[in-house]
């Protein structure tokens, strides 16, 4: 032991890479099923009448959202943390037994919580709050997982050699603190067994059921403060952490402006928390709060573009790398989609635009150009960069990567363009009326018109899933590809033909 050179220990990172891929496949597969169910309702019964309870759209939808958010994305965040964290702090997990144990407990407990979520959502046990569907026993598990991650994170920071914290570490810390605060506040709930009704009944409902501590407008406000900031601290902050590490590292280029990265960090933290009101425009929340939500949403363009432009400019003078390397392609497209959806979001948050966009498929389109183009691409790129380093082998196939890139890009484009058209059509048809104020269309008229766009979205989603399977295969084959020397891993990742 004494004479063994010190190395980074990627045990935990590898475990989370596995769940990123597996839960990604599960979540996106369910997404594709949902998409085709909306286009062809017969698919709701794809396992027959008897099992319809488990295969219908409404049962599967929260499984999709939770699998891709808390399964795929969060696993990706953990996997990259256990990789990037050690490297930029210049300390190995192997140097502390405690940190290794915490890491393993973190992983296995996380897996147990995932299993509990899958079983309970399939069984239809849910609190019915979007992205917070888990009943209280599971919530306690979630909090434990989070606390253990936090202890491990600050433990690693505590024994670091590098005095300053690299910008990505700031973003990981913000992810940890942000989600901790949001999750706790939004999930304040009381088990129904502790409640007593007006007529004196007690021990109401199953032991695992609970009701939110908030109600009515307050509940909506807390829910969307949570919901929007889950986008902030789950889909933005940790993904920015990734791109600030992986793009400079893979391209061998220093960040265009480190100062700009610090500045955008504080800008993002400052502005994001106030933007959630844009989910509740024209609702019963106070008017000033809605206006505030709109205004802060528009201001949010600045820090978001600050990070994205910083990434694009990092490639200044090195654009040939984008053509040459599929890995860089993934990251450059990711930051482009980040710019794109952070422009689209503020536009949708403007009150008059929201009057058309709200409740329509345009929102679904917006969600998915962000998550497919930005979150999905960046996480896959991160895992591609990590694979040769954690397995000490070259990436199995570059041409497979190139093919995957184009298939998925086409998939994303089909997804969001069809949803734009569908959404705006819906919005216009819902509000169209004749000179006496009678509605021009009934709901079913819109459904008929939207059918082709739903089918196109299904195809787009299927292409993305096919690309994801190619990614999974490529990583799997990398484990037995040509071994590489440490010297080959300095910047651009080694790839087989």
């Amino acid at each position: 032991m004494e004479n063994r050179p010190l190395e980074y220990d990627y045990t935990i990172a590898k475990m989370f890479m596995l769940t990123t891929i597996v839960l990604g496949i599960v979540g996106m597969l369910i997404g594709v099923v949902l998409a085709f169910q909306l286009a062809f309702p017969g698919i709701n019964l794809f396992l027959g009448e008897g099992l319809a309870e488990y295969t219908n759209f409404s049962r599967l939808r929260p499984l999709h959202t939770d699998a891709v958010i808390f399964g795929f994305t969060l696993s990706g965040v953990f996997a990259t943390w256990y990789y990037v964290g050690q490297r930029v702090l210049k300390v190995s997990m192997a140097e502390s037994k405690l940190l290794m144990i915490l890491g393993k407990v973190h992983f296995w407990l996380y897996l147990a919580v995932v299993a509990a979520v899958v079983v309970s959502l399939f069984a239809g046990v849910t609190t019915s709050k979007e992205y917070a569907e888990f009943e209280w026993p599971i919530d306690i598990g979630v909090v434990l997982v989070w606390v253990i991650w936090g202890v491990g994170m600050f433990g690693l920071i505590g024994i670091r050699r590098e005095k300053s914290l690299y910008i990505s570490i700031w973003y990981y810390i913000a992810t940890f603190l942000g989600i901790a605060m949001l999750y706790l506040f939004n999930n304040m709930e009381i088990p129904t067994m502790l409640a007593t009704s007006d007529v004196g009944e007690s021990g109401i409902g199953a032991w695992y059921h609970s009701v939110s501590m908030y109600s009515g407008t307050n509940d909506a406000l807390v829910q969307w403060w949570y919901g929007h900031n889950a986008v902030a601290f789950g889909f933005t902050v940790p993904i920015v952490a990734m791109i600030y590490y992986f793009l400079p590292k893979e391209s061998g280029q220093a960040i265009y402006s480190y100062k700009l990265s610090l500045l955008s960090f504080w800008g993002l933290m400052f502005v994001y928390l106030w933007a959630g009101g844009h989910h509740l425009l024209y609702s019963t929340v106070p008017d000033w709060m809605q206006t505030m939500g709109s205004i802060f949403s528009v201001i949010l363009i600045l820090p978001s573009w600050g990070s994205a432009i910083n990434m694009l400019l990092t490639m200044k003078g090195e654009w040939q790398q984008v053509a040459a390397s599929p890995l860089i392609k993934f990251m450059i497209l990711a930051s482009t989609f980040y710019m794109f959806s952070t422009l689209e979001g503020p536009i949708q948050a403007i009150k008059s635009v929201n009057a058309i966009a709200h409740f329509t498929d345009w929102i679904i389109g917006h969600v998915h150009d962000g998550v497919l183009g930005w979150v999905g691409f960046m996480i896959m790129a991160a895992l591609y960069h990590m694979a040769p380093r954690v397995f000490k082998r070259e990436i199995y196939s570059k041409s497979l990567m190139v093919a995957q890139f184009w298939i998925q890009t086409l998939g994303v484009v089909l997804y969001f363009t069809s949803m734009w058209i569908a959404g705006i059509t819906q919005g216009m048809m819902w509000r169209a009326h004749d000179e006496f104020g009678n509605l021009a269309y009934s709901f079913i008229d819109t459904v008929t018109v939207l059918h082709p766009y739903y089918a196109i979205r299904g195809v787009g989603g299927l292409l993305y899933l096919v690309g994801f399977l190619m990614f999974a295969y490529n990583i799997y084959k990398t484990m037995s590809a040509r071994p590489v020397e440490a010297g080959e891993l300095q910047s651009a990742s080694p790839m087989g033909a």
């Binding site: 050179p5 010190l6 190395e7 980074y8 490297r87 930029v88 210049k90 300390v91 190995s92 670091r160 050699r161 590098e162 005095k163 300053s164 690299y166 910008i167 990505s168 600030y244 590490y245 400079p248 590292k249 061998g252 220093a254 960040i255 402006s257 480190y258 100062k259 610090l262 500045l263 504080w266 800008g267 400052f270 000033w288 440490a486 010297g487 910047s491």
Partner: protein, 74 residues
């Protein structure tokens, strides 16, 4: 003044303070260019680029730990 009005003034004041803080920070970053340890902010990019365990830290936390440097050979 009722509570809602107080909240509104409080909110405005907080926003103003944060805006001034943020702009002050921008001014600081671009006028000073270096942090309190005298290290150019831009050199912190090296934390990612030179991140092997035996690479020299941009600024190390203690001299004692740096001596580990070179223990590992590649």
């Amino acid at each position: 003044m009722d509570i809602a009005q107080l909240q509104a003034y409080g909110y405005f004041a907080l926003t103003t303070v944060l805006v001034i803080g943020l702009y002050g920070y921008i001014y600081h970053l671009y006028s000073k260019k270096k942090d309190v340890d005298g290290i150019d902010y831009e050199s912190y990019s090296d934390m990612a680029l030179k991140d092997d365990i035996d690479d020299t830290p941009v600024s190390s936390i203690s001299d004692e730990k740096v001596t580990r440097e070179g223990v590992k050979e590649k």
